[in-house]
Symmetry: C5
Subunit: 354 residues, 5 copies
């Protein structure tokens, strides 16, 4: 969770616009993947160097350039120079501790958002993804610490199904954002299942570790909230149509993906409420269980205490104790003590203490 | 509760506007019920195929087409094509995990809201209902997992009582919304009774399960809040009269149903406060009860502990213990111990520990 | 508390504008009391039938028609027809589960607010009161489940003291609202005394019922908040002077009563904070008391446990135990045990456990 | 704390504008103190009757008339008539349960605020102070239950130091408000010291009364918040310069005192957070301490329980118990028991229970 | 924490604009350091007296005058007179208990913010820093209780690297603010590490002091929030470009540093949530541990209580107790008791109490 600021302090003292990669480093090579399409067809290439981007800059067909892994500052620098990006934009692309935001520059939009991954060990990983929307191109920069969620979109582009091939770069941007947001629901579904499992665990077999698991889940929700909440503003700003780069026909689609983020927020809030409830039930059942045990033990002790007193009474060494000599006294005392114990049991039972 | 996102993740990767039913499937056949009326009369039909809708599209009389159960994507698709609906609208009708919303399209309004059912086992079921308001028709799409609440309205249409037969499609929409909101109060009344029962249970015969029942009720309130809260905005937007489809005369009625949703919100908030109070009283009475038991048992133990010491004292095997030989010593010791026990009881009584 | 929705569900399915009384029924006969005044004099009448209202409708003198108990739908209906009220207004007058609100109709204002009564058994009763402000008349409709707070105002009208007889209908409306709001402070003062009594009780003689009394008080505050809070908006809207029915000279008076509602809100919030504090002190002192008792008892037990061990030691039946034969051994052991007990007491004292 | 509404209910039923003093009565005589100054000099008088005010009404020099103790309704009435105040203003001056507010009347401003006093017994007393700002005069009305904070200001007026003698009535008003707000910091400093003392007490020597002292401090903070919070709005409104009575040159000074109220609010909020923290630490250390005691006692008990069993074992009256006849058996058993006790101590030590 | 108001009360009663240093006094001599630069070069001087500032006032090159330690009122006074600052601005520079704010005066801007230092003993120290932005100069006033964070900036100015030497005074101001905000992340990173250490401590080796350490950390977060939160508004106001002193080209840089403060706020909020979670886990694990100990001890006691009763039974002095004479009876009883103890252990094990 402290990843928010980890490494962030290292930039302190550097001039603004200094390009330094902040974030996890995987050492994976950088790939630049280009999809260039229009109504007629779709051309796919893997670029070897950034300079190959230049022809795509002013082409009329729509171009999507996807840079996987932003860990090499020089490549981002070259991309930025090629497409005329502001130094601060390049800095933000490299600094993966950004929060989701939209920035409007003269002839392009800059969008930062977060992509979620839910891996096999049911951890939620977060990866920053930045978009640049130009007049006829979309650049996407992935942090590259896990796979991406754009394969179905690539398939649609290749197949030319649906509206996408005939629409502009703004619709491509929408499709990319939609793919990221749709994936939030996949992650939320996984988390929902884990929460239900946690709920079962709390009721049937709580352990001392349960409280930490509950808090871990709570923290993940806080984290997701921080990822999704600012996205709402980003999409609302996009949808208000202040930029000429976004056409009117795309507004209704952006409203749709805006609705989805609201739904995701709703789910996260519901999950948080559920987790709070689970914690309350857990703490209450824990203290209930403990109380039951202590009560049971104390009742056993309380039943034997008077009996122990009675046997002590006849263990005194006085010469004259009534009944000491009687052959039946021992049995009498035992029966008497059984009666006391029975009476106490009945009393406790009636008071519903047992 | 996790139903919010259940199945929602399955859509991830599909192009926007893909028609997939998301929600519970009952397998009930789809029925298309038409009521067409004007000042003179009301004609009722059960349509066999969607194409039969076409004549109603541009008729001057008001037409209400009710589609029960939106579980077949193709029927929604045909309806949408017939009435010129946007693909995203059709997608939202099919996806029953929407939150209440109003969307204004050029010549029609799209409204999503939730219908509540309180069944015999005192569960609250939620069903999505979508409305399309056109110039002279209202389409309603029910999720169809329980009955609907429109029968009294149908009776009024048939009987021609009140303002409804002479008013336009916007008044019909209002009447449908009003029927749904009115039903919220029926559900809230049932829940109110359950809360009062819960309150009695907490005071008179709390069990370890009570805490879970309280949390279940709390969760239902959170859930209802999410259903009702966005509806407020929907109705406020409708009432602001931005669309020409809603006439001025209908505004005052919409303000009335808006007031009702505020009242429902108020009731829900009051219930939540009551439930919090019940939980506090429950926890406090539980710990109180436990404390009383432990105190009682500890006091019994504490009274016998010195007595047991005294009998032990005279059980020592020393040759010379004063009084061992005396014939009255035993009785003396017993009286002495009774005095100690009595003194302790009086002391505890005075300190109000008993 | 569930009175908010009680009976409200019964209206479900009825057409809007259906006149049904919702609320408590007392069976008291309906009285229609008229005070008609101008600069010269004040005429008071008790009307026998609604039709007698008609002459007052367009009179130039100011008329106050007070309907006590709105439990008969037909009388409200006739009043409404006589003064040209909207069906929804009549419906709202009859439905006593409204929240405070202001509605502006063309030539009249409709105001709903709540009147509080604090009866001898220190319960707070709520009664709905609705006002209609016309050009020269004010209609007031009381729920009629307790008395009203207008007697001082009636006296002033009769006596002709102050500004009231020379001012218009809007000033009369202000005076009525002011009387209702002033009475809130009477009720709040009573509750303040009860809260202080509760505070004393918590400190000096808490009982297991105290927690429920505290929660009862908390709930009453939540309830009062819901009564007063929306009134603030009503008065703010009135004071903004959007309607021509309210003259400029009356604005400053409305601002004054607006200030009073803010003060009432402040008091309610202060009371809520006090009650929370009382609850905390109660729970803390309860657990403190319990801990003190348990500590005391456990200390007694702990002092005797080693002593009981020692007497047991000399109660063993070994043939050779040092000292058994000595005539002073018994006294020696007793002194030794007294020393142990004393030492433990000193130790516990020093550690401040006693 | 209930002083908010105390006595307030007594006004219920009286016509608006009725002059009744609401608040604490001290019986001190009313003094009317006048300071009249311009660039040249400062004249100071103690007025014998209200009618002597009249000459100051339209004078060109700036006049400050300070009425100490507003407990006599007739004097306020005469002042009001002399300076043409609205009846509701006079009513508010007398009613000392007002919250801070600014009211703009045609040719004067009416301001209500609270003056704080921190007396020797470290109680915080609140006194209402009302200001009227006219074109060339400021009237100030003190509740008069403690001294005031204006002596340094009077000195400055007499000495003619600084800007004050050459500035207008609005600057005088600012100086008065500034004196009151500056004094808040004196009170807050005292409270800060008490909070730090409380913090020490909680850590070093908590007593059962501590919780009530903490809650008392918390309540004082809630109270201060209510005093300072509305003042913010008052000063913001003054500073917006809507009234011609406040000159542009004074705006920057009002912004300064506005900043001070924000600082005071910040301090109050910080104090509240500190008090919450203190309460948490207190409760946690209390339960910690109690747990330590109980644990220690229980461990002592647990060590002796098996030993007592063993001595009981050899106290049985069986004829044949191995070792009873052996001369070393007693010592053997004692050593064995010491070994058990030692073993248990080591075990508990290792488990960090001791 | 009470440093907010410490010493602040001392100003009560002084006229506004009185120059009094409020804050910690170190006795360090005041240094006035000047950096004057343009595209060509950078000249650095240490001034001996304030009067030497005058030539820099209207120079065309950009001048940065840094006053380290504002503890001498007369120097600030002379600076203020030299640059024509308002008396209230001088007062605010000296009063180091300001909250971050921006004030717009005719030809200069006044900004107050806080500089953080994280020293070796992992304390967070706060130092006030004030900026004056004139047409071609920036004055900075440091509280001077620790070092500053401007050395990298000074290096850049000397080296002439980046945009800074060619940009105006507004860019210099931005660079200074950016340096301060960047340093927040260094401090936050340190705190993040401490929070993680605290988390480990809670899980592995909690001590009674842990709760105070957690609360100390919580308080630091509240404190940081108060430092960072108002800065957001300051930067938002600067960025809105209302003053002509800030050029358009600098806006995008200010937006960047605004984003950084939002990120810092996010981190602080995340830390607060983490600390709350740590506290919950701590309290829960503490009570869990205590419960485990008490349960273990009580179980030991409960096992021995019936055994002690049995040995007491055979210790009674009745003449006829069955088995007393039998040579195997002792062994029989011991075996019987072992069976009871074993049975109880099995029972407790099965119930999962052990």
């Amino acid at each position: 969770m402290t990843q928010f600021v980890k490494g962030r302090g290292a930039k302190s003292g550097l001039p603004p616009g200094t390009l330094v990669h902040i974030g996890e480093t995987t050492g994976r090579p950088v790939t630049i993947h280009v999809m260039d399409y229009d109504g007629e067809g779709c051309r796919e290439t893997e670029l070897q160097s950034v300079s190959q981007c230049i022809p795509y800059r002013d082409k009329e067909s729509v171009t999507w350039i996807n840079v996987d892994s932003v860990q090499q500052a020089d490549i981002i620098q070259q991309m930025g120079e090629c497409f005329g990006l502001h130094p601060l934009v390049m800095e933000d692309i490299l600094n993966t501790s950004q929060r989701p935001k939209l920035e409007v520059y003269g002839d392009y939009l800059f969008i930062v958002m977060k992509m979620l991954h839910h891996n096999d060990r049911s951890e939620v990983r977060v990866e920053q993804i930045s978009f640049i929307l130009g007049p006829s191109h979309v650049l996407s920069f992935q942090e590259g610490i896990a796979g991406d969620v754009f394969d179905p979109l690539r398939q649609r582009l290749r197949a030319g199904k649906g509206r996408i091939r005939s629409a502009g770069a703004d619709y491509l941007l929408y499709s990319l954002i939609d793919a990221v947001v749709d994936n939030y629901f996949v992650v939320l579904e996984h988390l929902g299942e884990e929460i239900e499992a946690l709920e079962d665990e709390v009721v049937s077999r709580p352990t001392p570790h349960t409280v930490r698991r509950i808090h871990g889940m709570k923290r993940r929700m806080i984290f997701l909230r921080r990822v999704v909440w600012p996205l709402r503003e980003v999409l609302a700003a996009l949808q208000r149509g202040e930029s000429e780069l976004v056409q009117d026909a795309t507004q209704v689609y952006l409203r749709d993906v805006y609705d989805h983020t609201i739904q995701a927020m709703d789910s996260i809030d519901t999950y948080r409420d559920m987790i709070s409830g689970i914690l309350d039930v857990y703490l209450s059942s824990l203290s209930n269980r403990m109380n039951e045990i202590m009560k049971f033990l104390t009742i056993i002790g309380t039943i034997f205490i008077p009996l122990t007193f009675i046997v002590g009474l006849y263990g005194m060494n006085f010469k004259y104790i009534p009944g000491l000599q009687s052959p039946w006294a021992f049995y009498g005392v035992v029966v008497f003590m059984a009666a006391i114990a029975g009476g106490m049991l009945v009393y406790f039972k009636r008071k519903r203490w047992l």
